[in-house]
Amino acid sequence: MATVDGTTAPSSGGKTATVASESGGGRYGGPPPPAKCSGANLALRALLFAVSLSALVVLVTAKQTVMVPFVIRPPQFILAPVPAKYTHSPALIYLLAALCATCFYSLITAISSVRLLSSSACSAKTLFYLILLDVFYAAVMASATGTAGAVAWVGLKGNSHTRWNKICNVYGKFCRHIGSSTFLALIAAIVLVVLAFLNAYSLYRRSR
């Protein structure tokens, strides 16, 4: 240990090196003290759980039935009820599956980070697995948001080139539900990205 300090002293200034060897002797002598997992981890995971749960609930309750006129012969028409549910689009089913997975994942990791906070030691291995899973779920939520967003956009604006009519002027409540669910899923994806970055940065800081 002393030889390493001695040989590197000239390049960094002898005074600071000797101060380091005197005051930081314990640092070189034994394992570094364990660092705590930050409370921001737990807060963000609780937020993620809340957001994904509310997006899930809003998506599942998106149901609306509207009376639409069907023309039989030109002057005569009948009104028939036409329902709109989230099961009518594969994109929304995919969003539902992704939200379920993220909700379950955020619940489990929120509980485990409560345990980590109380045990006052955050092992790097746990942090590493959490980051990997966070990155994976961020990818899943981002793709679900993009998919549901595309369907919601076409439903909102229609597409004149493919002759797809917009439906949000007819189904107002349904469109509001789908829109809020997609927006909440976007927030969940952003929270996952922020979580992954925070944990990766704290892992990076331990290696400096």
Binding site: V4, D5, T8, S11, S12, T16, A17, V19, A20, S23, G24, R27, P32, P33, A84, H88, S89, A91, S123, A124, K125, F128, I131, L132, V135, A138, A139, V140, A142, S143, A144, T145, G146, T147, A148, G149, A150, V151, V154, G155, K157, N159, H161, T162, R163, W164, N165, I167, A189, V193, A196, F197, A200, Y201, L203, Y204, R205, R206, S207, R208
Partner: protein
């Protein structure tokens, strides 16, 4: 340069001790490891060839998808039966372009942005100060790429199958080659997105291995 490196709370003297720590790491891992022998000034991080290869693959994949989607265009004629009076049906020329769909426009823009970021990250691979910005950018780029792939894939699926509940007719029976090219671009971009995910995981593994707790 050295003063910016320091563990919070562990290191009372700042810059000098940080430099000692880096040389101690070189001292311990100099036996056959990937770290080059640390001289007084050279601090280039070891370049992992696997990460570079993955990044080049992401670069090429996003470039290919953006180009194929942006060059996607088809003009065809559609027969419209105008009624019983006119004997020959009307032939109307119709065009399909990628700009006709917001999802495809978002797909091309997102692929172009990830391509630009990957090029910048490849150029900055040797600089130590660029590790954190590249990681942040990689995270955002991966999320952007996945969402763009989802949006374009969903639009393509709507075009291929339509949606009976909202009376959206499928269009891919008319625009066959257009749909095929668009979906090929989406598949290539999806593979590039998965490569980006693996690259991000490898980067985090590298950081974890360099950590003092490994």
């Amino acid at each position: 340069m050295e003063s910016s490196r320091g563990k919070p709370g562990l290191n009372g003297s700042g810059g000098g001790a940080a430099f000692d720590y880096s040389s101690r790491r070189g001292y311990y891992t100099s036996g056959g490891a990937a770290l080059p022998p640390l001289a007084a000034g050279s601090r280039a991080p070891p370049v992992d060839p696997c990460c570079v290869a993955l990044r080049v693959f992401v670069l090429l994949g996003t470039l290919a998808s953006a180009v194929v989607m942006a060059a996607d265009r088809q003009s065809t004629t559609v027969q419209i039966a105008a009624g019983e009076q006119l004997a020959p049906p009307l032939r109307v020329p119709v065009t399909a372009k990628w700009t006709y769909s917001s999802a495809f426009v978002y797909f091309v823009v997102a692929n172009a942005m990830v391509f630009a970021f990957s090029a910048a990250a490849l150029a900055a691979v040797r600089r130590r100060s660029a590790v954190v910005p590249v990681m942040v950018g990689d995270l955002v780029a991966m999320a952007l790429l996945f969402s763009a792939v989802g949006a374009a894939a969903q639009f393509g699926l709507l075009g291929e199958r339509g949606n009976a509940h909202v009376r959206w007719a499928k269009v891919c029976d008319v625009y066959g080659p257009f749909c095929e090219r668009a979906m090929a671009a989406v598949v290539v971009s999806l593979i590039a997105a998965f490569a980006d995910l693996v690259l991000l995981m490898l980067t985090i593994l590298t950081i974890h291995k360099a950590s003092s707790y490994y």
